[in-house]
Amino acid sequence: MQDFSSSFTLAANLIWSAKPELLEIITLSLQVTLSAVVIACLIGFPIGALLAVAQFRGRTALTLLFNTLMGLPPVVVGLLVYMMLSNAGPLGFLQLLYTPVAMIIAQALLVTPIIIALTRQVIEDLYQEYAEQFHSLVVPRRTAVMALLWDARYGLITTALAGFGRAIAEVGAVIVVGGNIAHVTRVMTTAIALETSKGELALALALGFVLLFIAMTINASVFLLRASAARMSYV
């Protein structure tokens, strides 16, 4: 067991010297989460926009469902994906368990409801403004949805960043379906969990700093985006 102050020094050294071990973990984390968020956005933006614009039975129920799923515990998502991908599961033949792909699937599942729910809110607010004008101009449904998605782009980027923030920081889903295998599925959060439990605080701390830095970057981006959108009168 290292003492605290030496852990901090070691962590700083690890980051400063850009240890390959550390870089590998960070890179995989970013790859997994970025892929998951891209997939979640591709699914979530159109579905969220449709929920905002379309009138159909069960729309409120669906909205409630996605709002609820926003708070889904990551371990539960991990468990569901595990059951799908394990040898006994329906997708077991794909042999994806304990691979980065499994982790991407789990995180995409975790983030998609968030993207859908936030997108629906953003687009619905904008549609309230546009609806009568669109009705007057006779804008086809598809054109309307595309226009709303484009005009809400600042809000949607913020939405994607929120999804990214949630996914990069979660540990429950990736540890269940990824297994934290060194050089294969070890990402920042799972490494922190493991190293801490082993009492190896230096690497855990170093990764913790990196995570903090990423969180800060995301928040700064959201802040700057808001400011620039406001300057352009786009909010």
Binding site: E132, Q133, V138, T143, S233, Y234
Partner: protein, 258 residues
């Protein structure tokens, strides 16, 4: 860069650029038109006939139902009773495409000035899209601000943009809801020139205003409405010289109680 004001070919009042052809959407007739909001009758048994080209001005005090009436005519609201017929046809998407409505608070998209106009033009797949855009920008006097965010424009500029966008899709009927309230005399003049351009091009203009002087300047006929009812419909000079209704008279005298 210079802001160009629209140039208008002077025509006599009531004369349009295509007097022989007539407007394909006229006459506009409503019969027994009623509309309720929360159980309150807002539009009450309106029988309206707009048969001639030119500019029909709807006058009436705040809350008279002018904006609601425009929405009913344009088919944005469904009447509780009665019907709206444009040349004998119920208002639908096809007819609405031939009309353009500029709202009391113009709805501008979160895009540049040019992209706002482009969006409307693209909906109708005109062959001369680029030319139409340039012309609309020039008409609105916004050529030099084409790439600014539309919602950063001043109130008067936003109104000009909304009207130019409406004109860019070449409607047969242009419906305007108080296009120059809150604007200074210069901006009001610019708007009136835009409206005049529309009339000269043979578009039917239906316009709501509070501004009696504006009505006097541009109206061919006055439709006076009060408490959701048509009180009178009179050729413009006649209305201002000798309104047929008591309500109309007291409105002109500035004494109409709501």
């Amino acid at each position: 860069m210079s802001k160009r004001q629209p140039t208008v070919v002077p025509l006599r009042k009531g004369q349009t650029g295509r007097p022989d052809r007539g407007n394909p959407l006229l006459p506009l007739k409503t019969t027994d038109l009623c509309f309720d909001i929360n159980g309150k009758r807002i539009i009450d048994q309106v029988d309206l006939a707009i048969t001639s080209d030119g500019i029909s001005v709807i006058l009436g005090p705040n809350g008279a139902g002018k904006s609601v009436l425009l929405r009913l005519l344009h088919g944005l609201l469904k009447p509780a009773r009665g019907e709206v017929l444009w040349r004998g046809r119920h208002i639908d998407d096809t007819l609405r495409k031939r009309q353009a409505l500029v709202f009391q608070r113009p709805v501008l998209m979160r895009r540049s000035v040019a992209d706002n106009i482009r969006f409307a033009i693209a909906l109708r797949s005109f062959p001369d899209a680029k030319h139409r855009l340039d012309r609309a920008l020039e008409l609105a006097g916004l050529t030099s601000q084409a790439y600014q965010p539309a919602r950063a424009l001043s109130g008067g500029e936003q109104q000009r943009l909304a009207i130019a966008r409406a004109l860019a899709i070449d409607p047969d009927v242009l419906i305007l809801d108080e296009p120059s309230s809150n604007l200074d005399p210069g901006a009001t003049l610019a708007i009136e020139q835009l409206i005049e351009t529309a009339r000269v091009e043979g578009k039917k203009v239906i316009l709501v205003t509070h501004d009696l002087n504006q009505a006097k300047r541009i109206a061919d006929e006055i439709i006076f409405i009060h408490h959701g009812r048509i009180i009178e419909q009179t050729p413009s000079p006649l209305f201002f010289n000798n309104p047929t209704s008591n309500h109309g008279r007291s409105y002109l005298d500035g004494g109409l109680l709501v």
